[in-house]
């Protein structure tokens, strides 16, 4: 059963809730409440443990997140009103939420189930470059990802141009670009013999009109796929975002909640980032009717989440969610380095392993800070996901992964600000065949062997 049945109550509160000036919401309501709760629940970051084993603090983070959502609410920037919920409503939504869904269609359907901390069941793995790509490489890149055997879901690269026209949000070029985007994705999946693959977003569609334009069970986003509803930093929404939540629910596809708490921003440090991330999962459930939450907390300066202060937040948030709910949630990696660099492979592996043992599912990998066109490939995501499968299958503990993470962090964390940009897709992949170059594969194997020597038993 989907969780959008209370959607109209929430939409009503977006119009009738408590009034507040937008300029006051974050400095006078969100941040002071968050600081108070961090102190109340004694949540404390320890830089020595990027992957902590602290069940008690995980439970306190859960409680702090619950209180944060209940005390702060969710602000609609169009109506200047706050959507607030009660404890009873949160409890009802958590009780009614499913702990598993069949996603995708036909023979390609996958069962997506809630995971526990240190769960031996492998994570559900969504692969995505999360960047824009030249129009001429779009379908090749889609095929390259869809060739990955461990891919359970796919989020395709974003188009900046549609048959030579620059795509503008809210304009006709966006409508066209979105159609082109989903056509390329679906065609790539069909050509590769996996037409029912779970597709999770149409990132080219920034405006709600773009999303609505591609809702078609024959050629577009199907009801076995999902789309994402984002938030504005932090705890804010707008009518255009609520439109999406409503449309997806009424159309009948799955809804994912997209959030990126900013370390160094209004959340403050690692503690606030963890609490905010968990609270967003409750927001996604109650307000967007989401069946899963897709989280990418990131560093304000580097725009990445593979250094220890963010890994800690990710690990603790995952543990809080796993221990206290049956929700589904993905941990989206944002790396500093670019494709075909050793650093990127290590960053991805660390992110995936820490996330996996902390109860997350995986979404890998937004390379090169998610900033540069054409700079992401499936191969780094492959390594992360193979590592995730390996540590789950092996039953590795948080403590064991903490040790491995510290060893790998020592190789790259001081380089985060000046990370190498690596290559563009066409420089390390055969575009025609959508396969990595030999040089790229050799580097992948080298780092995989390095991680295996640290005690990770890859399955193949």
């Amino acid at each position: 059963m989907a969780t959008a049945y209370r959607l109209w109550e929430m939409l009503d509160r977006a119009r009738t809730g408590r009034f507040m000036d937008e300029d006051d919401f974050l400095p006078r309501r969100f941040t002071p409440t968050l600081k108070k709760l961090i102190k109340k629940y004694e949540i404390k970051y320890d830089p020595k443990t990027p992957c902590p084993s602290d069940d008690a603090m995980a439970d306190r983070i859960w409680q702090a997140a619950w209180d944060l959502f209940r005390e702060v609410g969710y602000y609609n920037t169009d109506s200047h009103r706050i959507i607030e919920v009660s404890d009873e409503e949160i409890k009802e939504a958590l009780y009614m939420a499913n702990d598993q869904y069949w996603v995708g269609g036909g023979k390609d359907a996958r069962l997506w189930k809630h995971r526990q901390v240190e769960d031996k069941t492998p994570p559900f793995c969504i692969m995505s470059p999360d960047i824009t790509v030249d129009e001429k490489y779009h379908q090749s890149m889609c095929m390259a990802y869809l060739k990955e055997p461990l891919l359970d879901g796919f989020c395709g690269p974003i188009l900046e141009e549609t048959f030579g026209h620059l795509i503008e949000s809210g304009g006709p070029t966006e409508i066209s670009g979105c159609i082109q985007h989903i056509y390329n994705q679906k065609m790539a999946a069909r050509l590769l013999g996996r037409p029912g693959t779970f597709m999770v977003a149409v990132g080219t569609a920034e405006h709600d009109s773009g999303q609505i334009a591609v809702s078609d069970d024959n050629w577009g986003v199907q009801k076995t796929d999902s789309r994402l509803v984002g938030s504005l930093t932090e705890f804010k929404t707008a009518d255009t975002l609520l439109n999406r939540a409503l449309h997806y629910a009424q159309y009948g596809c799955f809804t994912g909640n997209l959030t990126g708490a900013i370390y160094g921003g209004w959340c403050g440090g690692s503690e606030g980032t963890a609490v905010t991330t968990v609270a967003y999962s409750l927001i996604g459930l109650l307000i967007h009717g989401a069946i899963f939450n897709q989280h990418f907390p990131f560093h304000l300066n580097t725009c990445s989440n593979t250094t220890r202060e963010l890994l800690w937040s990710i690990s603790m948030a995952g543990q809080a969610l796993s221990r206290n709910s049956k929700l589904l949630y993905t941990s989206n990696g944002f790396a500093n380095a670019g494709p075909m660099t050793e650093m990127l492979f290590r960053e991805t592996a660390v992110h995936a392993m820490v996330s996996t043992v902390s109860g997350w599912h995986l979404w890998e990998m937004a390379s090169t800070r998610n900033k540069y066109r054409n700079r992401a490939t499936p191969l780094e995501a492959r390594l992360g996901i193979e590592a995730g499968h390996a540590v789950a299958n092996q039953g590795m503990s948080r403590a064991e992964i903490n040790e491995i993470a510290n060893r790998l962090l020592a190789t790259y964390e001081d380089l985060a600000a000046d990370a190498p940009m690596g290559c563009e897709y066409h420089e390390c992949y055969d575009v025609a065949k959508a396969l990595p170059t030999q040089e790229h594969l050799d580097m992948f194997r080298k780092i995989k062997d390095e991680i295996a020597a640290m005690g990770v038993n890859f399955l193949y």
């Binding site: 824009t132 795509i167 920034e206 504005l232 900013i262 540069y372």
Partner: protein, 216 residues
């Protein structure tokens, strides 16, 4: 009562107490120019702490609010002694279709604390509005932020409107935002690409000729 105490109060974001102390210091004969110069150094220090994330956004925003509160008190005193040097006038906003403003807000604060006069247009700002507001202000800079690739074209649109109105050379166009780059700035013929907030004051000041500085 001392300037050092005032500096600490601003750094700690204690707006009301800082405002009261500033008023007292002025009544007791403190030099407003010396006060503003000290506070500029204070905010530069706060900016450095923020750049390293030794403090976070809420702390620098509170410090900025405290500075604004003190500057309000200083204003009439500064006018009497010829005003405060303004390094440049800026209209800043997030382009149309884009609702993400955290980066723009940080840049605005850093510019204000470094002697720029800034008019914040908010987010989802029409390209023509940037131009009209710049005209109304007599601005030196038009600064636009875009956080999504599909709203980046609006940054180009601002420049095109300036050209169509025959006033391209009147303004220095600055762009920034996560998906933007020097390559994009070159493509649309922007005058400046700011990679991050902390580099903005120096880069923008370098575009101003000395005779362009005014008092405010």
């Amino acid at each position: 009562m001392s300037l050092e105490q005032l500096s600490k109060l601003v750094e700690d974001g204690e707006a009301e107490i800082a405002q009261d102390l500033a008023a007292n210091l002025l009544e007791n004969g403190s030099d407003p120019i010396e006060m503003i110069e000290m506070l500029t150094r204070t905010m530069a220090h706060v900016g450095e702490l923020f750049a390293k994330l030794d403090i976070f956004l809420p702390e620098i925003m509170m410090a900025g609010d405290a500075l604004s509160a003190v500057v309000k008190v200083l204003g009439p005193y500064l006018d009497k002694v010829g005003g405060q040097k303004c390094k440049g006038k800026v209209v800043i906003g997030v382009v149309k279709g884009d609702l993400h403003e955290i980066g723009k807000n940080i840049v605005k604060l850093i510019l204000e604390t470094n002697g720029f006069d800034v008019k914040d247009l908010g987010y989802n700002v029409d390209s023509l509005t940037f131009v009209k507001e710049a005209e109304a202000m007599g601005a030196d800079f038009i600064a636009s932020s875009s956080l999504m690739t599909t709203t980046m074209p609006r940054q180009k649109e601002i420049i095109e409107i300036l050209k169509d109105k025959g006033i391209r050379d009147k303004y220095k166009v600055v762009i920034g935002g996560a998906p933007t780059s020097q390559m994009w700035a070159d493509k649309i013929c922007a005058d400046l690409y700011c990679y991050d907030a902390k580099s903005a004051p120096e880069l923008m000041a370098s575009l101003m000729k000395p005779q362009d500085e005014t008092t405010r």
